[in-house]
Structures are given as C-alpha cells and as structure tokens.
C-alpha cells in the first residue's frame, strides 16, 4: 500500500468523476493537437503549392533611372538606356545556400518594338520557366519551340488583329505567332513574348536580361533570407520579394493560426475548469476520508500528493489519448481544408506527442493544485466528525 495505490484505488472507485476529468482534458488536448496539426499541414500544403502562385522574388538591375512597372511591381530602371544584368550572372543563384528551394529562375529581357503601327513592349522569356512562374497563363495555340516564333498577349492580338498561326514582322524580322494568351488582367495582355534568345537578338541585348523572376519554395526557407542570399551573389542587382504575394499568403494562414490558438486556449481553459470543479467536488466528497488519513499521521504533503497523483494519472492518459484523437481528427479534416488534396498523411510526431503528454500533465496538475491545497488544509478534527 502506497500513496499511489490509494490514488489508483480512488480513481477506480470514482470512475465517473475520473472519466469526466479525462474527457475535459482529452477534448482540450485533442483540439489543440488537431488545430496545430491542421495549421502545420495547411502551411506545408501551401508551401508545397508555391509554384502555383508563380514568382515570389524579383531580380532587377540597380538603377537610378525612372521606374518601370510591370504587373504592379517595380522593376527598376526604364526605357532604352536602362542597365541590365548579365545573363550568366543568374547562374550564381544555383550556388546560394537555399538553392534547393529555388523552383525556377525566369530571366526576362524587355524592350520596345514596333508591330505594324503599334509600339509595344517585347518580353523575351524562358517559356519552360514561364510554365512555373506564370501558371495562370492559358494559351490558345502552342508554346514557341523554334527561335523565330512569338506569343501575343490578349490585348496585343486584339489591337493588332494578329491571331495564332499568323506571321508578323517585328524590327524587320519575320516571326510566327504560335499562340495568343487568354486575358490575364495583367500587363502580360499588352506584351509580345518571344523566346529569350530571339528577343535578345531583336532588341540587340545579347546575353543580357532586364530582370529575372524567381519562384522559391517557402518550406524551411523564409523568403527574406533567400532574398538576402541572392543579393550576396548578385551585388549589382536589386533583389526583392514580391511582398503582396508572400504577405497575403502568410497572412491568410497567420489569421487561421491565431484563430486556432485562440480556440485552443479557450478549449484548454474550459478543460482546466472541468478538472478544477471535478477535483474540488472530489475533495469535498472525501472530507471524512481525508480526516482519517490525517488522523493516521498523513502529513498535509501526503494528502496533496494523493490528489495530485490522481490528477497526474488522469492527465497523462488524457495527454496520450488526446494526441491520437487530435491526430485522427486532423487526418479526417485535412482534405476539407486543403481542397481535397491533403499533402501527405499527417504522421506521428514524437516531439508533439511528448509536448501534448507533458502539457496535459502540467495543466491537469495546475488545475488540481488548489483542490489539493484545500484538501490538505482540511482540519482533521472537522473532517472527522466522528471524533
């Protein structure tokens, strides 16, 4: 017979109370685990799909000239005498610490050209990289595979009357229009896109690029850090994050995360209150029993230990069960929050399981501290009405 045996025997006797405390903590722990896992998996899912969002880092030449805007973003210098980046320099991006997180690098050369009677902006791009950097493009026709071929923006096609399959003359060079973009709502609609080499040749900017777009995967790499890494290898360029995209994406998750933490705190508070109220009731119910213990020579600390041992054992069970219930709930709910493509199965995380176990014990014991103190402070003579 030990204090632990007394605690276990009491839990067995008062099963309903024990189950009530267990349920309170279990709901709290599983909700927290469920929400944290859900937020984490949503983050993973969104990070995984970053390519779908296109470029999130821009590299533009350092310039003191007027700014050129593209898609609402500042691109650095403007017009004919703008400075450019040497195309070979972009290879240095492969050497940065987080190079594994670079999904695509899209060099772009820009320059004005004449198409018929219209002055338009020509963009030389790497069409393979563009598939990743501009996943929203819908092309009527084909991507240019040969050198002297171009793709027109929706507005360019409309204004010039040129359609897919037509041949156009730009700067005296005959080019095949392989496709026309569906309207994107961006400045892409007013451009003519040519393969990088073709555009460089037409614009007489061989081996030079006006800017480059980078699609970085955020998993394990904060965008600002990657911006700083790229800046180090390209000192002559301005490297900037497309803040709206990054911030907007993270803010959405951030709001949900804050909401989750708020709900978790509330559920845990309710769980703790359930433990507190139940343990207080249990102590009141056992007034005579505690009096007997005290009459037998149990110290106040012995009584506290019995109450806390009971709370600790229930909390430990709630911690373990709560983790697995939370994990199961996350697995069940994840497809609903990730539009049916839950990225990977939510797997057992020993750190989170350990944290849930410890947190549950700490919460259960904390909520039982006052009832335990109350029990220890019971006047043994008052508690033992028989004497």
């Amino acid at each position: 017979m030990t204090l632990k045996n007394i605690a276990i025997s009491n839990l067995r006797r008062r099963k309903a109370r024990a189950l009530f405390v267990l349920a309170g903590l279990l709901i709290g722990v599983s909700t927290v685990i469920g929400l944290i896992s859900l937020v984490q998996e949503m983050k993973n899912d969104i990070n995984h799909k970053l390519e779908m969002y296109g470029a999130n880092i821009l590299i533009v030449p350092k310039t003191e000239n007027l700014s050129l805007t593209y898609g609402g973003l500042s691109l650095g210098g403007v017009s004919f005498d703008m400075t450019e980046i040497h195309q070979d320099e972009l290879d240095k991006i492969k050497t940065i610490k987080n190079s594994a997180n670079v999904a695509a690098v899209g060099p772009m050369v820009l320059g004005p050209v004449t198409l018929g009677d219209h002055r338009i902006l020509m963009a030389g791009v790497d069409f393979r990289a563009a598939e990743i950097l501009r996943p929203w493009w819908v092309l009527r026709g084909k991507i240019p595979v040969e050198e002297n071929s171009v793709v027109l923006g929706a507005d360019t096609s409309k204004v010039s009357g040129v359609k897919a399959g037509d041949r156009v003359k730009i700067q005296g060079r005959e080019l095949l229009v392989t496709g026309v973009l569906e309207p994107t709502g961006s400045q892409d609609d007013g451009l003519v896109f040519a393969p990088l080499a073709t555009a460089q040749s037409i614009l007489r900017k061989q081996n030079r690029v006006s800017m480059a777009e980078v699609a970085a995967l955020c998993t394990g790499c904060p965008i600002p850090e990657m911006v700083s890494q790229i800046s180090e290898v390209l000192p002559s360029a301005n490297v900037m994050a497309i803040q709206q995209v990054v911030k907007g994406r993270m803010e959405t998750i951030g709001h949900f995360q804050n909401f989750s933490y708020g709900v978790s705190a509330l559920v845990l508070l309710v769980g703790c209150l359930m433990v507190f109220v139940t343990m207080m009731g249990s102590v009141r119910e056992r007034t005579v029993e505690i009096g007997i213990f005290r009459a037998m020579g149990f110290r106040k600390s012995h009584v506290i230990r019995i109450v806390l041992l009971e709370a600790g054992m229930i909390s430990a069970a709630a911690g373990i069960m709560g983790y697995f219930v939370g994990l199961g709930a996350t697995r069940a709910l994840l497809p609903l929050f990730t539009e049916g493509h839950g990225h990977g199965a939510v797997s057992f995380d020993p750190v989170m399981a350990g944290s849930a176990f410890l947190a549950s014990i700490i919460l259960g014991i904390t909520a039982s501290l006052y009832p335990a103190l109350m029990a220890s402070r019971l006047d043994p003579n008052e508690a033992l009405r028989a004497l």
Binding site: M1, T2, L3, N5, I6, S9, N10, R12, R13, V288, E289, I292, F293, R294, A295, M296, G297, F298, R299, K300, S301, H302, P380, N381, L384, A386, L387
Partner: protein, 237 residues
C-alpha cells in the same frame, strides 16, 4: 507526572458571546499501559477531549504532553508524525474505506511508512490475525458484519504498533455480545502494555477499563479506579 499529561486544558469553540467551552480546565496524567475510560453525557466534552489527546485538535489554552513532548508546540507535520508513530485511532463508525479490501484498509497507515510491500502485507495480515480475521483479508468492508468491521478498525489502529490507542465509542454501533468481544480485544491489547483511552457512554463497557474519568460540562466530575476489571469499582472523584 504520567506518560501523558494534560494541564488545565481548555477548548472553546466560536467567539464573543457565542463561545462554547467544550473542555474547561481539565488536568490529569495517564501512565504507560493504563486503560482509561472517559464517560459523560452527550455534549460533556469527551469526544473533544479525545481529539485533543490524539493531537487532532489544538486546545485554546493549556498544555498536553506525551512522554515529555508538548504536542501542541510541535509543527503540523511533527504532530502528524506523532500520530503516525504513537497513536492508533478506532472510530465509532469504523471509517473503513469501502473501495479497499480489509488487508488494504489495515495497510493504510503503512502507506507513509518506508517498508517493503511484502513487509506491509505481512504486518497487515498479522494485525488481522490478531483480531481474528485471518480468513477474510481479501473481502471488502461491506461483505463483513459490523463487529468484524470494528475489528478491522482495531487491526488498522495497531498495525503500526503504536503505544497509545484512542477509541471513540468503539461499541456504539454494536450489539451487546459483539460489544463485549471488542472490549475483550481492547483489554487484551492493554495487557500488552498498550495505553488505551476509550470514550464510552456505557457503564458496562467502561468498567473494562482500569480507570474511569467522568466528564460533565467539560470538567472532570469524578474519577474512579477499578480494583479488578469488570469487577468492583472504587469511587475517588
């Protein structure tokens, strides 16, 4: 000076005009191995006095010492240790824990003693054998009679081998025959040099004691010493 000494013990409840004096200036000494019965009407202060003697109820004033130690000068923990090592309580309503077997109930006082599990069980079985319940150790309290429950309560009181047993109306809930058996058991323990102090309202049971203290309104109204147990008594009060 006896083994246990009460010096002008006063215990009051309440405050101001609502003060009730349960124990009013009681002094006596009890020697080792005495069997003392405390008698009195309901409300005479006998149970309050027993709780003070058991280290459970601080007197308002006065001094109570056991073996020269002022019990109420001790800290709460030290007083708990005193109860653990020196006092065995036998309660009128037995106060056995219904969810523990008889052996487990008897082992309760050993839960805070450093002993092996085997030693604790052995001590509990010895104590149960001592009160004649060796064959029922695995039963629950509700599976035995009232007299047997009282025996378990006595076994629990002696499992720690305390030098003092305090019994509050140990026969109060028992029939005459069972009550007599319990008294015999307490007498037998007393013969083993255990000091027994018993509160009772029954003259028949009181005369098993070697000394009888009568209380009235919180004061000692009389004291008697028995010449032979169960036999003639000589009034001294």
């Amino acid at each position: 000076m006896g083994y246990m000494n009460a010096e002008n013990l006063i215990k009051q409840y309440g405050s101001g005009g609502a003060t009730v004096t349960a124990v009013d200036g009681i002094s006596f000494g009890i020697d080792t191995g005495e069997f003392v019965a405390i008698m009195g009407e309901s409300g005479s202060g006998k149970s309050t006095l027993l709780s003070v003697l058991g280290g459970l109820n601080s007197p308002t004033s006065g001094r109570f010492s056991v073996d020269g130690v002022d019990i109420y000068a001790l800290t709460s923990d030290e007083r708990a240790d005193f109860r653990k090592t020196s006092i065995g309580f036998v309660f009128q309503n037995f106060h056995l824990l219904p969810y523990l077997t008889l052996a487990e109930n008897v082992m309760l006082p050993l839960a805070i003693v450093k002993m092996s599990k085997k030693e604790k069980l052995s001590a509990a079985l010895d104590a149960l054998a001592r009160v004649g319940l060796q064959g029922k150790t695995a039963r629950l309290p509700n599976q035995i009679s009232g007299g047997e429950q009282e025996r378990v309560a006595i076994a629990r009181a002696i499992v720690n081998r305390p030098p003092i047993i305090l019994a509050d109306e140990p026969t109060g809930n028992l029939d005459t025959r069972t009550g007599a058996e319990i008294m015999k058991l307490l007498s037998a323990l007393n013969h083993e040099r255990i000091t027994v102090i018993m509160v009772t309202h029954s003259n028949d049971y009181a005369h098993h004691a070697r000394r009888l203290i009568r209380l009235s309104d919180g004061r000692i109204a009389g004291e008697e010493k028995a010449i032979t147990q169960g036999g003639t008594v000589r009034g001294e009060g």
